[in-house]
Symmetry: C2
Subunit: 238 residues, 2 copies
DNA sequence: TCAAAAGTGTTTGGCCTACACCCATGG
DNA sequence: CCATGGGTGTAGGCCAAACACTTTTGA
């Protein structure tokens, strides 16, 4: 690093890309913006943007998240770094290194167009492609990561509103994993894990219009899941 | 991104940093280079360097790994992206965004000085700090990640030579986790996991000079561990 | 013949799966 | 009173922790 001339090379641009996931209508959905200009004009892409000169990638990601979702308070949302994409040809215009983040949202307000007045919308995860740039890969990596982290962390509550039922929490797992779970066993597993959820005394809510009202819970202080909540092995070969 | 002037901002430098880990003398050790110039002159740091203009971060990391270790063939080594560090003040000279990688080595040759003629050496993990820049944090993150991945992946074999005994494999787990494991149970667990290791027929090796010669194994084709090999819960509270 | 390291066997308990069953509510 | 979703109970099985025991080598 010594003797490096900071202007010797063509500069690298550094951006953040966001895979913003939520569960709407029982489906995993992702926040996309429509590109107005070339390259990939008219195609959908993940929201994102450049790092400002005095900003870390995490700060930039949270700023972009607020801009793109239009939410006033974005501080409580789950945001975590996914990985960095740096293939030389990933943007045909110039060298762009992008730090990708995954954000999880509970309720899903319709997005307003971002700062650059582009169209923004939620789209079901499996109808999202093909996206601009290498965003298909980023989105797939985000899905993989979230699916894996459901097994050994408590992030599932990040998809839920402040108060939620165990049925709603189970739907998070089922939606992301694409598999059905046994309700009694899921319930026991969650309640047995210390600090995963905390009961709201006396509260209850009707979920489907019919049926017994469900008890309400809040996210607990725990972050890890020991032992993990393993997803059922798939029927076919992996 | 539209209308972005690639020279409008002070350029970002993009580097890779490597946490190169190995097990020597029964201890987890890390490859460090001594800084010759300010800032942090005389301090030890993780090896690393700038991305070349047409190089991805992964390519740069593998190039640096070859340069710093002096190994001729570095293609079979385990190298994986850790995360990206982008705090604005992490390098006092300029804005540097660094993509950190973790590399795992089996045997550990003494390193030759890197391309910039700096001193390089192996140091036990727990004697490594304090390092230059934010490298203490990067190194700790690498250790955390490797410890976690031992539970649900087969990367432990990356610390072992091509042919190894189950005792050596167990020492990898014990060294990284800092806990003792039950040998019979470890053995059963590893052999029960399809594709983790494959026996080398007829081969055996004496390990401690005394005792029964141990059968030899090679790394199998599996990458994931289902079910995981969970580390024993720590005695104190987490 | 002993120490050291590899490898096998066995018991026990816990957790997890699967499924049967009861409860509360709206139509 | 039936459909729907929430919640409890329980029998069986698999897995893994714990530990006793055998085997093979060098000294």
């Amino acid at each position: 690093m010594e003797g490096y001339d900071k202007y010797a090379f063509e500069p690298f641009a550094v951006t953040v890309d966001l895979a913003v996931l939520t569960i709407r209508e029982g489906r995993l959905q992702v926040l996309l913006i429509e590109r107005g200009q070339e390259p990939y004009a008219g195609r959908w892409a993940l929201p994102g943007g450049f790092l400002l000169p005095h900003e870390s990638a995490g700060t930039a990601a949270r700023r972009e998240l607020a801009e793109e979702t239009g939410l006033a308070d974005v501080s409580g949302l789950h945001l975590e770094q996914l990985r960095t994409y740096s293939e030389p040809d990933r943007d045909p215009r110039m060298r762009v290194v992008s730090v990708a983040y995954t954000a999880l949202l509970p309720d899903a307000p319709e997005p307003r167009g971002g700062g650059d007045a582009a169209r923004a919308r939620w789209l079901p995860y499996d109808e999202a492609g093909p996206l601009a740039f290498d965003h298909d890969r980023i989105l797939a990596d985000a899905h993989d990561r979230i699916g894996a982290k459901l097994e050994y962390t408590c992030i599932a509550t990040a998809f839920c509103p402040p108060e939620f039922t165990l049925g709603e929490l189970q739907q998070v797992y089922e939606t992301v994993w694409g598999t059905a779970l046994d309700r009694p066993n899921f319930r026991r597993k969650v309640l047995a894990t210390d600090g995963f959820v905390a009961a709201v005394p006396g509260a209850a809510r009707l979920t489907g219009g019919r049926g017994k009202p469900a008890a309400l819970y809040r996210a607990g202080p725990a972050t890890g899941l020991h032992p993990p909540l393993l997803r059922p092995p798939r029927e076919g070969r992996p």
